[in-house]
């Protein structure tokens, strides 16, 4: 069972920017209701895309500098990184199928 792994400022470069595969970063916080609502969907997707896409999450309260670096001022925000840069931004809670479409587009090199 793959699960999104927590990343922090010190591990962000190795875990996200230098990753061999696309990386989805879920910017979340404990007080964010919609974040909690999409968490189970991200767990499922992490499982479905194991080995193809890495799933990570950033607690914006603990690491505001990461949110700030990418201009994230609303959560949930999902950023999908490819080769160290942001390829897709998904704002707000979205259905699983919508999230899958974004991921598939990245995998197909769109």
């Amino acid at each position: 069972m793959a699960k999104p792994s927590a990343v922090e400022t010190s591990t962000f470069e190795a875990e996200v920017l230098k990753a061999e595969v696309p990386v989805l970063v879920d910017f979340w916080a404990e007080w964010c209701g919609p974040c909690k609502m999409i968490a189970p969907l991200l767990d499922q997707l992490a499982d479905e895309y194991e080995g193809k896409v890495r799933f990570t999450k950033v607690d914006v309260d603990a690491y505001p500098e990461l949110a700030n670096r990418y201009g994230v001022r609303a959560i949930p925000t999902l950023l999908i990184f490819r080769d160290g840069t942001v390829a897709t931004q998904v704002v707000g809670a979205q259905p699983k199928t919508t999230l899958k479409r974004h991921i598939e587009a990245i995998l197909q090199g769109a």
Partner: protein
């Protein structure tokens, strides 16, 4: 977020509810308690608008108020405990196939004997440059969700109604200063909110003004350009957050011209929440003359859920899905 084993596209539900806000969840609660096979479809967050609200002080039964996101979860849990099935998906259309109502989604079609449309509304946009570009980068519709990113900063709230002032007041606890930009010279918000607003030292008002552009440094919002509608004088305000509450539009596009709507797109219903199409009901903010209150949305949902129950038991008396489908063929001309 998907309920149980996951919904099936080849089965005929008694009722499908479109929209998981207070109206939809209450319709689902009543339908499920009436032992209907009920499926609720929601594209974003359970609870709808209350999931994005702070303290709710006008929902009866909570003398000290209740937090919107808590109410949202509780309504969801209450309805699903009674057997309501749910799916996180986006509905793209609704059409009639004889007596069967087909709900089209990005995950395929779902069939039902009755449909309750409770898809609510969408925040009206300013329609100015920079608004889309800086969405979630300083432009927001949710103070409770995003306010924490603006601690100690100066933010703008656009609008003068209940939502603008309520959310603005919430922001005054986090931001250094909250500028309320309103196109008129007085607020439309309820007196109790106005009283609080004028008594809050770090909330100030920029009257008779409209936003013409959201400015930014490509990463985040850095300001807004406003124009005074009386003097035509432009000015730039240095704010890092722009919270937009200028109204709501009904999310009725999924219906096309299936049911009667008013000129703004709100659905016309009877006092039993029935549209002009048999077996299609509407509830909550999407209907004409909705008060757009949590309690009225819940009330609508109750009526719609029970009306759907009454419709299904009367129109599909034998209760067998096979028979219902067969009936569909012969009744397809009578259904409209």
């Amino acid at each position: 977020m998907t309920g149980g084993q996951g919904p099936e596209s080849d089965r005929i539900y008694d009722v499908i509810i479109v929209g998981g806000g207070a109206a939809g969840l209450t319709a689902g609660l009543y339908a499920s308690r009436a032992k209907m096979d009920a499926l609720l479809l929601e594209k974003s967050v359970w609870g709808g608008q209350i999931a994005f609200t702070g303290l709710v002080e006008n929902y009866p039964g909570f003398p000290d108020g209740a937090m919107g996101p808590d109410l949202a979860i509780w309504m969801y849990e209450q309805a699903t405990k009674q057997g309501l099935q749910t799916l996180s998906t986006e509905v793209t259309g609704i059409e009639l196939r004889g007596q069967i109502r087909v709900v089209q989604t990005i995950d395929g079609d779902f069939l039902a004997k009755a449909v309750v449309v409770a898809s609510g509304g969408e925040h009206r946009k300013l329609g100015v440059p920079g608004e889309e570009e800086y969405a979630a980068r300083g432009v927001s519709n949710c103070a409770v969700c995003d306010g924490a990113f603006f601690r100690g900063e100066i933010v703008a709230v656009i609008g003068g109604g209940d939502a603008a002032i309520d959310e603005g007041l919430y922001l005054t606890r986090l931001a250094k200063q909250v500028l309320v930009i309103h196109r008129r010279d007085q607020l439309r918000a309820s007196p109790v909110l106005q009283e609080r607003a004028f008594a809050t030292p770090n909330m100030s008002f920029i009257w008779n003004s409209v936003v013409e552009e959201v400015l930014g440094d490509t990463n985040q919002v850095t300001g807004i350009r406003v124009r005074n509608v009386k003097t035509n004088e432009p000015s730039v305000l240095d704010v890092t957050g722009v919270f937009i509450y200028i109204g709501f539009d009904p999310a009725a596009a999924i219906l096309g011209d299936l049911v009667e709507q008013d000129e703004h797109g709100y659905i016309r219903v009877t006092d039993l929440m029935a549209t002009n199409v048999p077996g299609v009901f509407a509830a909550g903010d999407i209907r004409v003359n909705s008060l757009r209150q949590l309690v009225s949305a819940a009330g609508d949902g109750c009526v719609a859920g029970l009306s759907a129950y009454k419709y299904v038991t009367e129109e599909f008396k034998d209760g067998e899905e096979g028979a219902a489908v067969a009936a569909t063929r012969s009744a397809s001309s009578a259904a409209q």
